[in-house]
């Protein structure tokens, strides 16, 4: 649980503006980018189409990882079956050939899918740096609405252009409901 005394002594994380709906958020994000800010984070209760593109987060390399996982999983599965059934202990099973690629193909398929599934899951969490129970954004007032009704944009102190007053007023100019400083 958050200790009030501790939070007070924390440095600033950024400035957070709250918006009514997704369109306002998208518009604000565009303007923020135009204004030259680079360290921007946007929060919303659901995915706002186009927002990621505006914020430069739209590159999707996941399919390549998945493709690699499918290949690796499949090859490993075939290798495992080949080694156990052909190399280590070949056993005559129903007079069928030791290397029964027809039968092996099923495990190859399933293993490929399993590897892909694990890859997607891992990618999703690792790239998003989750689990992350503590994040400065949660310190923003009314942020609990970020998962329900409200939309937020945050400009971080690490942004080269960041200036507390300037950034605050810039955000206030964006049709926001409120602008607050967020401690890290």
């Amino acid at each position: 649980m958050v200790d009030a005394a501790q939070t007070k002594s924390r440095p600033l994380f950024g400035v957070m503006a709250e918006f009514e709906d997704g369109e306002s958020l998208l518009e604000a994000a565009e303007k923020t980018r135009e204004a030259g800010y680079t360290r921007i984070q946007a929060y919303s209760p659901y995915r706002v189409e186009g927002l990621a593109k505006v914020l430069g987060q739209d590159g999707n390399i996941l399919p390549w990882f998945v493709l690699a996982a499918l290949i690796v999983g499949g090859v490993l599965a075939y290798y495992m079956q080949y080694v156990t059934d052909v190399v280590v202990y070949p056993i005559n099973i129903g007079g069928r050939p030791d290397e029964a690629w027809q039968a092996f193909s099923i495990i190859v398929f399933e293993a490929a899918i399993l590897f892909a599934g694990l890859t997607i899951l891992g990618f999703m969490f690792l790239r998003s740096n989750l689990p992350l129970p503590y994040h400065p954004a949660f310190n923003a007032p009314n942020f609990e609405q970020a998962s329900q009704t409200r939309f937020f944009i945050c400009i971080e102190v690490t942004d080269p252009q960041f200036d507390l007053d300037e950034t605050t007023s810039f955000l206030q100019s964006l049709d926001s409901l409120s602008v607050n400083e967020v401690e890290s």
Binding site: A42, P45, Y46, L62, P63, I93, E110, I120
Partner: protein, 451 residues
């Protein structure tokens, strides 16, 4: 029509239907309000049935599978029938999440969460049976590869080894898919909850989801990738279960139609189960505004379509028996339909799976919830019977007439038939009490798009 607001369940007065957050309130309301009496009654009854089932399971584990009515040659009985049945029930969820997502069917989002939940629960039920039906369940791990001093490994040519792997992979991938889709809703639950412990509970599950736009993007991409891999997976799983039969020599099993026909049958029974659960949720939570009658109708259409595919499968069995030009295959097919004591099961199956669903051609029937639910219950019975006919009749009616035996169930078979419903419903009751049964974020997104 009674709405949630009429029931005074704590939706903030300032929220109006159609405003942002309204659907979150509606969907999460059942979790935050006091436990209603019907839940306790339903839960207790289910848990009681589960207790009976556990009694049967413990007995079977201790005394052996011989408690069932299985024999030589009808060596598989209710255990395997239930396995296929429950796997089938577990097919609609992933099908809805994956295939309908790829097909951009937006109405699917209403069903996806609880359908997928039901899938996972059904997989738990299904997964019990391959274990329980083993003569020596303590060695079930031999079905998986691992380094060992016996230098032995599973037989990769066996459909059961495929089954073990496919069902495990299916369970895992479905769980992953379901879980990442739950993250935003868990975060919303965390934020909505007022009790500290409840909040912490959801906070841990949500792993710190904060609605970051890049996370949303990744979630979106991951969901599509999951859908892409889950679609062939969901088809493969019941295909492999179908292969259990198709690769066997047994008359009545030795058909190439089995894999697709099993997939269609699985989706068929899965949708029937989803409709029943949806109708229950609609009524219990007064979610008529969330799960609309149009949604129900769409699902009913799926039941009809897949039902027709299943009927085609039945037809092909006859065609194949004739076309195979194999005397025993033909005799078996005739026996299955007209011989005693099999005919009753066969025609009951045809009635439920082929006859009754024809009513769904009519819009009025599709939009009549009680009638729809009745037909769907019939489909579940029919599909159970289908597996029963396939498993016990084909096995019992062996190649050599001298080996024929009839399967006759014992009390333990009956407990095994009904017991798993206890497990399923218990977990389902817990699920609807703890997790939002409908993806709230998607509902909000759809609502916002409508405006």
């Amino acid at each position: 029509m009674a709405t949630l607001r009429d029931q005074n369940v704590g939706i903030p007065a300032e929220r109006e239907a159609g405003t942002p957050g309204f659907l979150v309130d509606v969907i999460s309301a059942p979790i935050f309000r006091n436990t209603p009496a019907w839940w306790w009654i339903g839960f207790t009854a289910s848990a009681g049935l589960l207790g009976v089932f556990l009694f049967a399971v413990v007995n079977i584990l201790i005394r052996g599978v011989g408690l069932w009515g299985i024999q030589i040659p009808a060596i598989w009985g209710v255990g395997i029938v239930n396995f296929i049945f429950w796997i089938g029930i577990g097919h609609a969820g992933t099908f809805i999440s994956a295939v309908l997502l790829l097909m951009r069917q937006h109405w699917r989002s209403t069903f996806s969460r609880f359908a997928e939940g039901a899938t996972l629960i059904a997989l738990v039920c299904a997964g019990l049976f391959p274990l329980l039906h083993l003569g020596r369940p303590q060695y079930a791990y031999w079905l998986f590869p691992y380094p060992n001093i016996l230098e032995l490994n599973p037989n990769w040519r066996s459909a059961l080894a495929w089954d073990a792997v496919a069902v495990s992979v299916y369970g895992l991938v479905s769980l992953f898919f379901w879980y990442i889709d739950l993250l935003p809703d868990l975060a919303a639950m965390r934020d909505k909850a007022e009790n500290r412990w409840v909040k912490t509970f959801y906070a841990i599950l949500s792993t710190g989801w904060r609605g970051d736009s890049s996370h949303w993007e990744r979630l979106h991409n991951a969901a599509y990738m999951f859908a892409a891999i889950a679609t062939p997976l969901v088809i493969s799983v019941h295909s492999i279960v179908g292969l259990d039969f198709a690769i066997a020599l047994t008359p009545g099993w030795h058909h190439t139609i089995f894999p697709p026909y099993f997939v269609a049958g699985a989706v068929f029974s899965g949708f029937a189960a989803v409709i029943i659960i949806a109708a229950g949720l609609r009524r219990a939570f007064s979610w008529q505004e969330v799960i609309t009658i149009d949604h129900m109708e769409n699902a009913a259409k799926f039941v009809l379509i897949t039902g027709l595919m299943v009927a085609y499968g039945y037809g092909i069995e006859w065609f194949a028996a004739w076309y195979l030009d194999h005397e025993m295959e033909w005799i078996l097919t005739i026996q299955r339909a007209f011989g005693q004591p099999y005919a009753f099961f066969y025609w009951a199956m045809i009635f439920f799976n082929v006859g009754a669903i024809q009513a769904l051609w009519f819009k009025r029937v599709r939009r009549n919830i009680p009638l729809l639910v009745t037909i769907c219950v019939g489909v579940l019975i029919g599909m159970w019977l289908e597996r029963y006919v396939i498993v016990t009749v084909s096995l019992g009616y062996a190649y050599l007439p001298a080996a024929h035996e009839y399967f006759s169930p014992t009390i333990w078979d009956w407990l095994t038939i009904f017991g798993p419903f206890g497990l399923f419903l218990t977990l389902l009751f817990l699920f609807i009490r703890i997790l939002p049964s409908i993806p709230m974020y998607e509902a909000e997104l759809l609502a916002s798009e409508e405006h």
